[in-house]
């Protein structure tokens, strides 16, 4: 772990060649070879708490980059205003998400000292999107933190259309780490267990952990849902997983 890092806002090329904003953090550790991580923000957007997560990856030796998925909806707006604007427009289309993660991964592969290995991680809606990216792009490790609507369709009556992604599971390009709360309703433990069974049948390497006493968003240190025991163990699982598949 390094105490010294550089973090800044940059521009990258996202889906359809669009220039979008992204937040980059890189360790200043003198390493000549390091792995990279694309961080997918949650529905509340490109906010300070998720930027803190980006810096955390850099502190642990990874170059990390978070594309602002709402940049097109509200360039220059505050994260919460941008999230509200994106929501009013129906959210982030899956195709655009994949294009933006692809652009972020490509940017990371081109950085000095990049070892060519890129992982992805997402929280909440970003957990589903992490799975989507890993089934759509050639990546090296994916982490899904409580992403719903992968196996099951969203509850009836919601105006936003989210297509279950489980049909894409055969295209999963990399090992998957899933971190879930036993008290979560979306995804509920039966949905994540079903996904695990499907991945077993497909021979797709994965490792799922479901924490008792934790619900949705247990990693969120600034929310009442924060569960330090689950979050601390979850972070250790992430360091072990990325250490195995991305480091060096």
């Amino acid at each position: 772990m390094t105490e010294s890092l550089t973090a800044k806002t940059i521009r990258i090329t996202g889906h359809a060649g669009d220039e979008i904003e992204a937040y980059l953090a890189v360790p200043d550790d003198g390493s000549s070879s390091r792995g990279s991580v694309v961080v997918i923000h949650h529905m509340p957007g490109y906010d300070s708490s998720t930027k803190e997560i980006v810096r955390k990856f850099a502190a642990h030796g990874y170059a990390a980059l978070m594309p602002n998925l709402y940049y097109r909806d509200a360039p220059g707006a505050s994260p919460d205003d941008a999230a509200a604007a994106a929501r009013a427009k129906g959210g982030v289309p899956d195709e655009r998400l994949v294009g933006d993660v692809s652009g972020a991964a490509e940017h990371l592969r081109g950085l000095p000292a990049a070892n060519g290995k890129v992982g992805v991680i997402g929280y909440c809606s970003g957990g589903r999107q992490s799975f989507l990216a890993a089934c759509s792009l050639q990546l090296d490790a994916a982490v899904d933190c409580y992403g719903a609507c992968i196996v099951k369709a969203p509850p009836a009556g919601l105006p936003i259309t989210l297509t279950p992604l489980v049909g894409m599971a055969g295209d999963l390009s990399c090992p998957l780490l899933g971190l879930f709360g036993a008290d979560d309703k979306l995804p509920a433990p039966d949905e994540t267990a079903e996904l695990s069974n499907i991945l077993d049948e497909l021979g797709k390497p994965h490792e799922f952990h479901t924490y008792d006493g934790a619900g949705h968003a247990f990693f969120a240190v600034d929310r009442p849902a924060y569960r330090p025991e689950a979050a601390n163990d979850g972070w250790q699982k992430i360091w072990d997983f990325y250490g195995q598949h991305l480091a060096g």
Partner: protein, 87 residues
């Protein structure tokens, strides 16, 4: 959980945001994670004018109980005045 739920409606009126008063044209209402309120989920209302950009927004995040009380109070306030005042 994220609910992804969003009710949308057109409205007429004004709101006061970070840059002062502006005309409102739209509102979104949803029960989901708040940005600021210390609750896992809240009833969120965004009063908007998209024509003036994404920052033309007045936002509130209310607990479910507060939102129900607010809805009742709005109905009560409207019911307490003569119908001819309501246009």
């Amino acid at each position: 959980m994220c609910t992804y739920q969003t009710e949308q409606l057109s409205i007429t009126g004004s709101g006061k945001g970070a840059s002062g008063w502006f005309a409102l044209s739209d509102a979104t209402v949803y029960f989901d994670h708040p940005v600021h309120a210390m609750a896992e989920h809240t009833l969120n209302i965004d009063f908007l004018n998209p024509g003036r950009g994404p920052s033309a927004r007045v936002a509130v995040e209310l607990t479910a109980e507060s939102a129900r009380e607010l809805a009742k109070a709005i109905e009560a306030a409207l019911a307490s005045v003569p119908a001819e005042m309501l246009g």
